[in-house]
């Protein structure tokens, strides 16, 4: 007989638990701040104000969030198919190559609104192809996707270093990066949207890729919960045996899911490359792929959750930078520790408080038990 199991209402499942996890992460982080001799409350204020207090801060926060939406979606799509894509980092990095080829070829002749679609396709294609090889090895040879995607991160990094210090570097330049793109490959900023609300922005990299990220979040939702392909991916993700029984080809579904995941990872590169730096530089992904894992987990693999989690991590990045600036005792490394704590509590220890909260709900609110209120949740 199955153990009776208390279900949580959706708002608790998708709202309360992440908030509690987050609060605990901040409390622990507060102790860390205390330990280095700073006031944790002032630190929290600086962090939040740095991220949301001024127009510039908001724009930076959303710029970082854009990056994390892509990588979070990438991880989530693979996860719905039961695959742990740790290769988002490498897929995004190598996709910079696709963007470089498009931008360096066309930035002098085409306007941005023609370069951009081509770059989207190129980045998605390169990211997808980079994910194809581990996917094929998993589907046909049983090589574990976690291992192969990690390996492919290193391969991607090495290839990019080779290209950026060699063939892609302009002659005579000392910096390991491509030449700067011309206006035809510079994406328009979105700062005016924030300025509509009366905030002032000095200079911030928020650009149209943000809108693309939101569009992709919607398309991922559509894919996962409203298409036959998404249905098949979820079936395989929950139970490979059931998928086999249902006539879903294992090879096809693994390869398709991983290529979509790789394509989303690849699109992440558009944001820093075309939206901000206007060149492809060494290590421009700088860990965003791994942050995507935390974002996807914290967002419960749902696009809405992923967008919210991405904004949170954007806040940590932007607010953290302000914090390091305002509080000399808190170095850049401290910020990484705080981010790590959030990842730890929101991602890895996601289920730590769940049993207690379930017990609490079961005793106070019997009606919530056994009811599944939210539609279309696969995870």
């Amino acid at each position: 007989m199955s153990t009776p199991y208390a279900k949580l209402p959706a708002w608790a499942d998708y709202g309360l638990i992440p908030l509690i996890n987050l609060a605990v992460a901040f409390i622990v982080a507060g102790f860390v701040v205390l330990l280095v001799g700073e006031n944790p409350f002032r630190a929290a204020v600086i962090l939040v104000e740095g991220a949301f207090g001024k127009g510039t801060g908001i724009a930076f926060t959303l710029f970082y969030a854009t990056t994390f939406i892509f990588t979070g979606l990438s991880v989530a799509v693979a996860a719905h198919c039961g695959l742990f894509n740790i290769g988002t980092e490498g897929q995004a990095y190598i996709a910079g190559l696709g963007i470089a080829i498009v931008c360096l070829s066309f930035d002098s002749v085409l306007p941005w609104w023609l370069t951009f679609p081509m770059a989207i396709v190129a980045s998605a294609l390169v990211g997808a192809l980079w994910a194809l090889i581990p996917a094929y090895l998993q589907a046909k040879r049983g090589s574990h996707i976690v291992i192969t995607t990690i390996m492919f991160n290193f391969i991607a990094a090495s290839i990019m270093v080779y290209l950026l210090v060699g063939p892609l570097k302009p002659a005579g330049s000392q910096a390991p990066q491509t030449r700067n793109f011309l206006a035809g490959a510079e994406l328009p900023k979105l700062n005016w949207i924030i300025e509509l609300f009366g905030a002032k922005i000095r200079s911030a990299p928020l650009n149209v890729t943000f809108l693309l990220a939101l569009l992709m979040a919607f398309l991922v939702w559509l894919l996962i919960w409203r298409t036959k392909l998404g249905y098949e991916m979820r079936t395989y993700g929950h139970s490979p045996k059931a998928a086999r029984y249902a006539g879903i080809s294992e090879t096809r579904i693994i390869i398709t899911a991983m290529m979509i995941s790789g394509a989303l990872a690849g699109m992440m590169a558009l944001n820093p490359v075309m939206g901000d730096q206007h060149n492809v530089a060494i290590d421009f992904v700088s860990g965003a792929g791994f942050v995507g894992i935390a974002v996807a987990l914290m967002g419960r693999l749902h696009p809405v959750g992923i967008v919210l989690a991405a904004v949170l991590f954007g806040m940590l990045y932007q607010g953290g930078a302000e914090l390091a600036f305002e509080m000399p005792a808190i170095s850049r490394d401290m910020i990484v520790i705080i981010q790590g704590l959030v990842i730890l509590f929101a991602g890895a220890l996601e289920h730590m408080f769940r049993p207690y909260i379930q017990a609490l709900f079961a005793s106070f609110s019997p009606r919530s038990v056994g009811m599944e209120a939210v539609k279309g949740k696969g995870a």
Binding site: K7, K228, K241, G247, E372
Partner: protein, 510 residues
Amino acid sequence: MAQAAIELIGINKSFGAVRANRDINLEIARGTIHGIVGENGAGKSTLMSILYGFYQADSGEIRVGGKPASIKTPNDAIALGIGMVHQHFMLVDNFSVLENIILGAESDALLKSSIAKARSELERLEREYGLEVDPDAIIEELPVGLQQRVEILKALYRGAEILILDEPTGVLTPAEADHLFRILKQLKEQGKTVVLITHKLREIMAITDNVSVMRQGTMVATRETSKTTVGELAELMVGRRVLLRVEKGEAEAGAVKLAVKNLTVKDSRGVTMVDDISFDLRAGEIVGIAGVAGNGQSELLEAISGIRHAVSGSVMLDGKPIDLTGAADPGELRDRGLAHVPEDRHHVGLVLAFEENENSILGYHDDPRYLKGPFLNVDAIMADAKDKIEKYDIRPGNPRLKTANFSGGNQQKIVLAREMEQDPGVLIVGQPTRGVDVGAIEFIHKRLIAMRDQGKAVLVVSVELDEIRSLSDRILVMFAGRIVGERGPEATEGELGLLMAGVERQEAAL
């Protein structure tokens, strides 16, 4: 009646809004075998889990040997002399019998002295209760009947005076079950108290002294076994009269729909699981495949339904071959009219994390009825799911409910509704009523016979001999991958039981 070994007084236990046990009063007399029957979800296992310290009762009192007892953990229960044999054995497969028996009851930091002590104690127990097992055998090399014996020995080694057995015969051959019953009777004669949880009324009648019936969390009756009947117990369990054996007319077997010839299937380790099997399945008949679990029935079903690849042989569906290379598309077989209700509905037939409506199209999600281009036609899927819910009386009737929240019987109905409503020519069903309650069993059996009467060919594989005998027009018995006999529905249980045990190997199996 002798002094009570256990008294439960006013036990209540709720899981949220679900009242798993309400005001349970139960007295189990010392030195008796006491049966507890009830449908799935009636609260039997919850009650026993409270007694064994897995759960705490919300209110009520437990008395062991007349004294109030507080049982907070299984260790408390063991200290009070209560032992439990679980439905799924709690043994470490690659440990020896002795190592398993001392597990958690090691008397010393060093194993050697514990083992030596256990060995002499074990010899005494084996002598006393006729529970022979080689103490140095490795668990995974023992047949299930012997593994169960190790579980019983484990409980006795810990000084159990009261032994709780949860569905102990589910995995046993009839002969092994008989042997278990002899052991239980011997334990009783030695003064032990046995609590037997089961849904098999026949076993209750055969072995218990008293029987308590549970329904929807309440204890509805306790009877002296000699003064009750199977019919009365079934009625008490379900709350209404139940047909224990479905009525059916003569089969009118027609053309051969499925022809299996010299089929051989190996498992991933290369062990031959299906060995040169041939049989025909005709329209308008139900063929039942009997056998103890693990004798190749699962592999046979999987090969026919295109999930598992076969080494040699052929399967013809309506005269055309089925691809047995493992590259077969089960979707294509569905299009050709082969529907399959798999044995394992939790991992194969359903995706438990899905909503009910999503499961009602599993395997048929390619059907244009459920699609709008690449998109799912949510309205059509919902309408279809509601239709099936009504037709098959699936409860609760909410197509948005997560499948894991349905009871076993209703989950099985979801699968059956999906497969039967596609109007297949051939229906193959593995364990049609495993983990399904009595009321739903009746419904499912009637449906299967209705399929037969519509001229469909139905192949049923079940480890429940009663079910096979009640449904089948022809019975094939599988043992060690081969079909060792074919009998009519009039075959006696003893006759089939001998075939299932492989006759000549019967002695070795015990």
